[in-house]
Each structure stands twice: as structure tokens, then as C-alpha cells.
């Protein structure tokens, strides 16, 4: 049971995002492992404990992402392939999936590929399914439960849908994207943190993957960002004074007569 986990470094969800002249201000941002990728990695590690095999991280991101990748290794992944070259950066979901697909194809036989359901910076929620299509594999997105057959040939997953869930059976290899609720990601142990720095940390460039530099990263993007804007300000709200009963009555009146939503 060999798994590949795609891991991305993103700004902490508690980070304040500031936009200046059409760009995100990067100074002062704390970076973390994309929270959904932690669920993806935990799931791979969990099945490694049961079925054996190897867990390999593939991460596309700048040199800066090294600390987050080390956290993935400290959690228990066996090795990493980091696509750190500048040519890989700044792509859209398509260009990113293309580079990851090439890296995964080069790694050879794999039984399951785990991604987070989306990265919490770009919010595309697209790379997992694109990757599956490019590798000609089935995919199940936003899984909240996974059972892999003992022979490692098939799996049954649950995914959340509006007002319920779908139960999906798939052959392996397949791509799964992890939704919150799938598991509780482990914290790296002291031993894990110590060992992380001794694990194989490989770096692949565009030529290692046999890709044309024009087909990945910003040059390969099929989506062009024209502008980035701060969200519109909400009009200042007001606190309704008075005793709770009076305030509740007044708010309900305002919802009907002023906001006209009831």
C-alpha cells in the first residue's frame, strides 16, 4: 500500500489578508501546512499502519515551504519530492495539477493519492480531480470516511453532499481529497521531529519531469489573474440597546420593516 500525499504550504487561517495595489501583502504572514492536507496525510499514515508500504509527499511551492514539508515528514511521511523551482510557481490549478501529475507518474506505482479538498489560499478545490483526470485515475472528492480493502485493490469512501452523504466504491489506484471530519491529524512527536531532518528530501526541477517550462507555473496557467481586491466593506452595523426582550422585539421589527428579509 504505497500512498502519495500532495502537500501545500498556505497562510495560516488566522492570518489577516491585506491587499495592496492588486497583490496580497506577504510580509508578516505565518505559513502552515494547508489544514486539509493534514487530513490527507493522516489518512495515508493510518492506512500505512494497517497495510504497510510507503508514504511519499509531493509538494509544489517555493523554497519557503521547507518548514511545512518538514512538519509532514515529522508527522510520519517517509520522504518528499519538492517542486521548488521558480518555473513551477504562480500557476493556476491546471498548471499545478500538470506538474504534480508528472511527478506522480515519475514516482511509478502507487495505490492511493491523497490531497486536501482545497488549499485555503486559492480556494480552487480543483487540483485533486484534475490530477486524477490527467493520470487517468478515478477520484472521490471531499471524503469523510475511507475503508481500504485488505488486498489494497479497492476502497469504499463516504463523501458529504447537500443534506446527506454518498457512499462510493472505487478501484485503486485512485485520488481522494480529504474533507474535515475524515480523521484527527496527529501532532508530530519529538522523535518524529528529530527524524524528519534525516529523511530523504528530494528536489525535482522542470527538466527532471521532462516538462516544457512554458507548460507549468505562471507560464502554463490557463487562468489569468487580472486583479486582486479587498472584499467590499460591510456598512457599519448597530447594536440595539435595551433589555433583552425589547432588543429582540426591535431586531425582529427591523428585519421585517427595514431589511425586509422576514
Amino acid at each position: 500500500m504505497n500512498s502519495i500525499v500532495c502537500l501545500k504550504e498556505v497562510p495560516d487561517t488566522e492570518a489577516r489578508i491585506e491587499v495592496r495595489s492588486g497583490r496580497i501583502v506577504e510580509e508578516g504572514i505565518q505559513y502552515v501546512v494547508n489544514p486539509y492536507d493534514e487530513f490527507a496525510l493522516e489518512e495515508a499514515l493510518k492506512w500505512q499502519e494497517t497495510l504497510g508500504g510507503k508514504v511519499t509527499l509531493v509538494s509544489l511551492g517555493p523554497e519557503r515551504a521547507r518548514e511545512s514539508i518538514l512538519k509532514g515528514l515529522a508527522m510520519g511521511a517517509d520522504e518528499v519530492y519538492h517542486l521548488a523551482e521558480d518555473a513551477f510557481q504562480g500557476g493556476d490549478a491546471y498548471a499545478t495539477a500538470k506538474a504534480l501529475a508528472a511527478a506522480i507518474a515519475k514516482l511509478g506505482e502507487v495505490d492511493a493519492i491523497f490531497c486536501g479538498r482545497q488549499a485555503v489560499d486559492d480556494d480552487n478545490a480543483a487540483v485533486g480531480a484534475m490530477l486524477a483526470e490527467m493520470l487517468n485515475l478515478p477520484h472521490v472528492s471531499m471524503i469523510t470516511k475511507l475503508e481500504i480493502a485488505a488486498d489494497g485493490k479497492s476502497a469504499q469512501a463516504e463523501r458529504e453532499v447537500e443534506g446527506g452523504k454518498e457512499v462510493i466504491h472505487t478501484s485503486l489506484p485512485a485520488v481522494f481529497t480529504a474533507q474535515k471530519g475524515l480523521n484527527e491529524p496527529r501532532y508530530p512527536s519529538f522523535k518524529g521531529i528529530r527524524q524528519a531532518r534525516t529523511k530523504p528530501f528530494n528536489t525535482w526541477g522542470v527538466t527532471d519531469l521532462g516538462l516544457d517550462p512554458g507548460s507549468v507555473g505562471a507560464a502554463g496557467a490557463l487562468l489569468e489573474v487580472v486583479d486582486i481586491l479587498p472584499p467590499p466593506d460591510r456598512p457599519a452595523g448597530r447594536v440595539i440597546p435595551g433589555e433583552p426582550a425589547d432588543a429582540a422585539k426591535e431586531v425582529v421589527r427591523l428585519l421585517r420593516e427595514e431589511a425586509k428579509v422576514i
Binding site: 487561517t13 484534475m130 463523501r159 472584499p231 452595523g237 448597530r238 426582550a245
Partner: protein, 325 residues
């Protein structure tokens, strides 16, 4: 020619509201692009649905009605839609950013070799091309994007764009298309529905949400009760979900769902930045919190400083009185 193809999602013979919203959007875009709006309808047992799509503005509906498409599958729906798109060559393909659409659209885009603008909330036409606006960082910023290949493909966030008024006089041309489900390796074997009549936060017009202030799983009782009175969905902050008081499917925010209801009532939610990101585009926000300094009051249209266990039942009483009028 710039025809627009809308993927008209249905489950169990019921069309998603976002399909109508996209037909309205498509009609506007078609005016700028010089084409018509068409719809693709996939599933099994779909009689009656093409007529509804026509009334909402589709000039033509391509229908793949086949038991093999009864349950959604990323592969089966991609195969069928890719065949249709190759044949009719639309300029724009719109898919709802629902659980199904978010699963389908990226796979289809990769098959077609085109980019994808995901979860868009606004569109414009500039020089014959789409410019789509999409929230990033869960709404902490907005990104305006252009798609560099044809068809220009986007998913559209539900509940943001107005659905047009249906016109009973309008009729769509209906064309049956080949359903080429092909080999489906990831197959739905069961669909389990949650509690009866429970509204999902992602689709709700009204949401009543609880946070740390509910103080335990039982603390959601007044929130559920108010939600029931209003026909609303029950939402929750990350604090309440991480404490194990309610399931993750209720979570609103950056690691939950981003929502755009007409009315969002936040009870005992302080307003952490990652929660605000997920609900700040709600049309009207009501906040109930003990702490007058809580950041939630900065985004609330109307705030009440007080204990939710006192205030929420009072709100419910007032709503009941109003709804009984």
C-alpha cells in the same frame, strides 16, 4: 458565436436552484457575447425538467436520460459532457459550485484542457471574454480572472445571483444526446440522507449559527429551535465543531463552508477572522453575544449584547408572533 452551456444539476428529479441562477446569468452574458443560452441535463427519469429550464431562459436543452447516469459519477458525467461539448463547441460552460459541481468541473476542465474559474460570485464581459470574480482566502480577498482557453469554464456559487422570473410562455428545444457514461471506476453505491427536513448550510436562505457561547452540545437546543421556526439551517463556528458539540457539516468559515444566506443569525460567536471570512457576504447579519467588544458586532447589521440563552428564545417568540400574523 458565443453560446453558453449551463450544466443543469438535478438530484432525484429536482433541479438545483443554482441552475436557474445560472440561466439568468447566461442570458445576461449571452447578450454581451452574442450567443444563446443552452442547458445540459443528465440523469435518469427527467421528464418535465427540460420545460422548467426553458421557462427560465434555456433556448435548447440537451438531455442524456439514462439509468447509467441515475447516480452522479465524476467519470460518467465527464464522459457524457465532454462528448456534448466537443460536438456543440460552446464559448462558455457554467457549472454550479455545489458538491456535485465542485467534483465534476475540475475533472471536465482537465479533460477539455481548459482552465477553471472556481466558485465565482460575479461576471462581466470584456472584449468578448468573461471576467469572473471569485473569493480567495475564503473571502478575505477577491480575485478577478480571465480564462485563456475556450470553452471558458466557471463554477458559480449558489445563492449569490438572482434567479430570473420563469416565463410559462418560453419553451426550449429539447435534444436527446448520447449518454456515454463509459467505464466508471468510482461508483456511488448508496446515498444516505441526513435528518428529515434538515437544511444544509450551503444552500440555506437563513442560517442560525452557534459558537463557543453555546457551551456544550445541549446548548444548541435553542439554536435548533429558532432554526426550525425560521425553516433555517443550523450553522456552527470552528470552536463549536472542534469541541465536538456538532458535526463538521455544519461548520461555517475558512475550514468549513462559505455561505451567502439572506439572513445569518450568529449566537455566541465571537467572530474569529476565519469565521467572518465564511459568512461576511450574508445579506443581513444578526449577532447575539455577551461580549460587547466581540468582533462579530463589526460585521453585524443588528447586534444584541446579551446571553444567547436569554436572547435566542426571545427572538424565537418574536419571530413566531410575526410569522403568525
Amino acid at each position: 458565436m458565443g453560446n453558453i452551456l449551463v450544466f443543469a444539476e438535478q438530484r432525484n428529479g429536482v433541479l438545483k436552484k443554482v441552475a436557474f441562477e445560472m440561466l439568468g446569468l447566461g442570458s445576461q452574458l449571452a447578450a454581451g457575447l452574442g450567443g444563446t443560452v443552452e442547458a445540459a441535463l443528465l440523469g435518469s427519469g427527467l421528464s418535465g425538467l427540460p420545460d422548467a429550464l426553458g421557462q427560465y431562459g434555456a433556448s435548447k436543452v440537451y438531455v442524456a436520460d439514462d439509468p447509467a447516469l441515475a447516480n452522479y459519477s465524476g467519470e460518467g458525467y465527464t464522459n457524457t459532457l465532454a462528448g456534448l461539448i466537443a460536438k456543440i463547441q460552446p464559448a462558455v460552460v457554467l457549472v454550479g459550485a455545489t458538491f456535485m459541481g465542485k467534483d465534476l468541473a475540475p475533472r471536465l476542465a482537465a479533460r477539455l484542457g481548459v482552465g477553471l474559474a472556481a466558485d465565482c460570485i460575479a461576471f462581466a464581459v470584456d472584449g468578448g471574454n468573461l471576467v469572473a470574480t471569485r473569493p480567495i482566502f475564503a473571502g478575505k480577498a477577491l480575485s478577478k480572472v480571465r480564462l485563456l482557453r475556450t470553452p471558458q469554464m466557471a463554477t458559480v456559487r449558489p445563492n449569490v445571483l438572482p434567479a430570473p422570473q420563469p416565463d410559462a410562455g418560453k419553451k426550449a428545444v429539447v435534444e436527446a444526446i448520447a449518454s456515454d457514461a463509459g467505464t466508471v471506476r468510482a461508483k456511488v453505491v448508496d446515498v444516505v440522507t441526513a435528518g428529515k427536513g434538515e437544511v444544509d448550510v450551503a444552500e440555506a436562505e437563513t442560517i442560525v449559527s452557534g459558537g463557543r457561547g453555546v457551551a456544550g452540545p445541549d446548548g444548541f437546543a435553542p439554536i435548533r429551535s429558532l432554526a426550525k421556526t425560521l425553516g433555517a439551517a443550523v450553522g456552527a463556528s470552528r470552536a463549536a465543531v472542534d469541541a465536538g458539540w456538532i458535526e463538521h457539516s455544519h461548520q461555517v468559515g475558512q475550514t468549513g463552508k462559505t455561505v451567502t444566506p439572506t439572513l445569518y443569525i450568529a449566537c455566541g460567536i465571537s467572530g474569529a477572522i476565519q469565521h467572518l471570512a465564511g459568512m461576511r457576504t450574508s445579506k443581513v447579519i444578526v449577532a447575539v453575544n455577551k461580549d460587547p467588544e466581540a468582533p462579530i458586532f463589526k460585521v453585524a447589521s443588528y447586534g444584541i449584547v446579551g446571553d444567547l440563552f436569554t436572547v435566542v428564545p426571545l427572538l424565537e417568540k418574536e419571530f413566531k408572533a410575526l410569522l403568525a400574523e
